[in-house]
Symmetry: C2
Subunit: 296 residues, 2 copies
């Protein structure tokens, strides 16, 4: 599905802070970048997509991190969600990282739901995964630091959003790193990975058999211990084929009722798990983040 894009040979790569440019295109008056850098945290090259809205030329802006789901790279959201239009309109920088370390020297599994493309936003403590799979520290510490050094980000106005496995990542990273992330939203998140097949398989591999260590990466468990400072926004399609077995949104709804955490959980009739669903509601999510982050 890739189109012919360049007639000439490779262009000279530009450096931006700690990043090298892989690709750049103008979009809605701003710039859509694909970047790569050598991550100290994962010990691998990591790709990341950054959209700079037109207002980025004039000074620091809020930023929203978007975490993708199983099998995705930084590219899926970048080309499929149509987020640039509203990011340009609201003046928000959008950062979409890859979902795991990758490469020949990186552990992998034949399954789509473990290994490369399936980092689950945890810091693994079990080999062979522990060598490179440190996505929690990468997303919450190294990447925001590098992004803020390279681009005009208001460090106190950063939010996080994600889809499916990335919705789990957004919720858990926001709850665990409230100094870094001030707004959070999710599309069709895995809300209780300790209780569902995708999460149990990944956590057993990455974190080991002691399930008490899983709680730090389980949004439902975390919400029983701590609250988040702004309203949580969640959209979930009721025609999503993963809803019953893997996503189980009702577990989160129960915890929200128990705890009184401010949240808006919208069951969207007829929508599935695809980027057609994400594209339909990405504007609402970016407005949600912009409203909270601009008031800080």
């Amino acid at each position: 599905m890739s189109e012919v894009l360049s007639a000439g040979g490779p262009q000279q790569a530009r450096s931006m802070g700690g990043f090298e440019e892989v690709a750049s295109a103008q979009c809605f008056g701003g710039t859509q970048l694909t970047l790569v850098h050598d991550s100290e945290t994962t010990g691998t090259p990591m790709r990341v997509s950054v959209y700079l809205p037109p207002a980025a030329k004039a000074g620091p802006l809020p930023a929203v991190y978007y975490l993708s789901g199983l099998t995705c790279s930084e590219e899926n959201f970048t080309v499929k969600a149509g987020a640039q239009r509203m990011a340009a309109e609201t003046g928000v920088i959008v950062v979409a990282p890859d979902t795991s370390p990758r490469g020949d020297g990186v552990a992998n599994a034949p399954d789509y739901d473990l290994g490369q493309g399936a980092g689950f936003y945890v810091d693994s403590v079990v080999q062979p995964w522990a060598k490179h799979f440190k996505m929690s520290s990468y997303i919450s510490r190294e990447l925001p630091e590098l992004i803020a050094e390279a681009f005009p980000v208001k460090r106190e106005a950063v939010g996080i959003c994600g889809h499916s496995m990335g919705g789990h990542g957004a919720l858990t990273l926001a709850l665990r790193h409230p100094d870094t992330f001030k707004s959070v939203s999710a599309f069709a998140p895995i809300v209780a990975p300790s209780q569902v097949p995708w999460g149990r398989k990944a956590f057993a591999a990455y974190l080991g058999p002691d399930e008490t260590a899983w709680r730090d990466y389980d949004a439902c468990s975390l919400l029983r211990e701590r609250s988040f400072s702004s309203q949580i926004l969640i959209d979930q399609g009721d025609a999503d084929p993963f809803l019953d077995e893997q996503l189980q949104t009702w577990r989160l709804v129960d915890v929200l009722k128990e705890t009184g955490q401010s949240a808006k959980v919208r069951m969207q009739p007829g929508y599935d798990h695809s980027y057609f669903f994400i594209a339909s509601f990405i504007d609402d999510h970016l407005r949600h983040h912009a409203r909270i982050l601009k008031a800080l």
Copy 2:
């Protein structure tokens, strides 16, 4: 870049008029379909993407055909252009066909700019291409007939748009079939295929060495002979790497000046040839078509 979409096995295919459903997803309150049918014109199965906006439930609507460029299938535009939002807002059905017949029994070439994925929207008269490569008749006759039978299309309110090779297709098919297409626009079109390497290679293969036969498929030649009933809209990025050698927009600008054909040609500073460019201006194109088609 494909995500995990379905947990279960293959669903039972639905039939819609002459089409079988390959995939369906709700998007912006409407339905994004991927369909397949056995084309009498090409003698092959042909895939086509159809977006039905919410208003399609209430009665006949205008339709806009979108023709893709080299190497693309029906999928690129469908997942990358973000057209569904404005199609839902304006109440326009969007139809995105494949760019050629495909399959093991279909002639092909090792090059990206000839054969499967590169039909150039002509009816080939030279074997081996002539057996299946009849994209002109397919897009202008068979497909609109089947679409209007299967979906609530106002047959007198149909427009056509395209990108690159598909921009060439949109311009030439609109000029040659004004009874079928009442509005036309293009992104970065090949405007004079008879004069540029991509076009000359394809036309020599598909149409033979007699260049007088090429004129019917050359927008600049056609515009010297006939006018179009509504304003032509064209967007072209000035950072497009194909502008100088393959697109040569100035040739069209000269013909428009000579003939007085109503047209708006916008050189867009900083934009390249990618879907980031198309996404940035697709709203304007859909509004252009909706304005003309709704006034009919």
